[in-house]
Amino acid sequence: MSKKATRATKPKPDPDVVATGKKSAATAVKKVLFVSQKLLPKDADDRRLHLERFFHPGQGKEALFVTHPDGQIMELLEYAEPRRSWLVNSEVCSNGRIYMTTPLDPTLLAIHHLRKHCAQRAMSLDNIAVEEARTSRLLTEFLNPDSLKCVADVKRSGDQSFYKYNQERTLAWLALKTRQVAGILKEKQVHCGHSAQSQNFVRSDKLAAENATSEMDYTRMASDIVGRYLDADLHDLLTGYLHIPSEIQAIVEEKAATQKRKSKAGKDDGSDSKKIKLSDSDVGAKLKSSGLLDSDGDLNASVTSPTATPAPLKERSLTAKEKALAKGAKGTKSIASFFKVK
């Protein structure tokens, strides 16, 4: 959790690598899973669950999904704390991770392929990505064609349906999804304001009553969560569609507001500090190192929400005050960073 150079920051051997035989272990590594009851085979069901790799747009690479032969698909997330292990009956298990299945709308995964292949012309699902067996399998086996109405124009000819990517519908659909997520964040009282100091005190009644987190903070976090499943450019479009200001801007505005309040009694102490010009690349580097962008402290863990990583603020330089703020925000992390996609 901390970024101190302790023993825990040493790169851990990935248990999956061990399992593939690169390093021989005495006993095969056990894995602890939380599997949704919906997915588990019932008594008379003789079919098996599978782990399959499909392209994950937010990761920009393939990730593991759990599939049931009847067409259900769920995402496999990995929960890893730096120092954890299991005792299973009378055995020690060094793999202290929990693998958890979470429900997933495969339409989110399909958007990437639709944008790639069906932006210009309508195609039928079995004609998209014929050369990629896995993508084709995803689109034909696990995707509910009806759900594509939300992100594409459907043209029917006889029995066949053809789909053409529709950006307007997609953004509206994603915006609704974002609102659903924001709703649950609010319901669970997840603290997602940038002013979060310590999440340990989140559930205290006082804080809950104060209701410090604004609507926009929830929306921003929700859009980041939705964005984990989107191509980076589409996530940017969504952020624009929802009129979400960038996080730094929000911090500065809020700070300015408190400054005003404070300095009302006294004289105005020049809240317009001198601007220091920074080149764009500098700003990007600052952002990255500030930890504002959710890059996880754990070196081993890949960046958890890649879509949150820079859409570097263009033509905007940071004042000294902003930089100090960014530094102060170092180490705060969102709940999204607890999980990474396996």
């Binding site: 959790m1 590594v29 020690v92 340990n200 709940i335």
Partner: protein
Amino acid sequence: MSITLDFNGKNLAKSKSLDLHYLPAKVDGDGEANVEEYFNNYTREAAEFGTGVLTNALRGYPLMGERLKVPEGYRGLVLQETDKPLSESSDRQLRLTGVFDEFTYWNYDKVPSNGDAYRQALVMADVAQALSQPISEQDLEAEIARNKENTKESP
């Protein structure tokens, strides 16, 4: 390459129930250990810290824990890969070792609370549920119409 979780409904129903402890320590190594005699034997209830709080120690380091249920709607499984795959591309199989519905969660010298990363992380399950909820077509049409009006108002 595909990975099969090699169990069917019957295996699942007949599988044995496991006793699990989620330890706040990194252990280098896997294998047998006399958990019953050297660990479970020392688990005590510590009512002074709250109901259901347990205490124990691992190599002298104090542990505080509690019995936790697997999140609602989920089942805990322990899987193991018994035969090593010959190559990266060959099919792999994970076999079922056992199931569990409860486990003991241990913290190092801290009463388990909502501040624990584990508990906070579980919110993601609800978030994913909300994200995967389908959206009705009426709602979508309404949203598109609303957006159109908004853009008209503020060109």
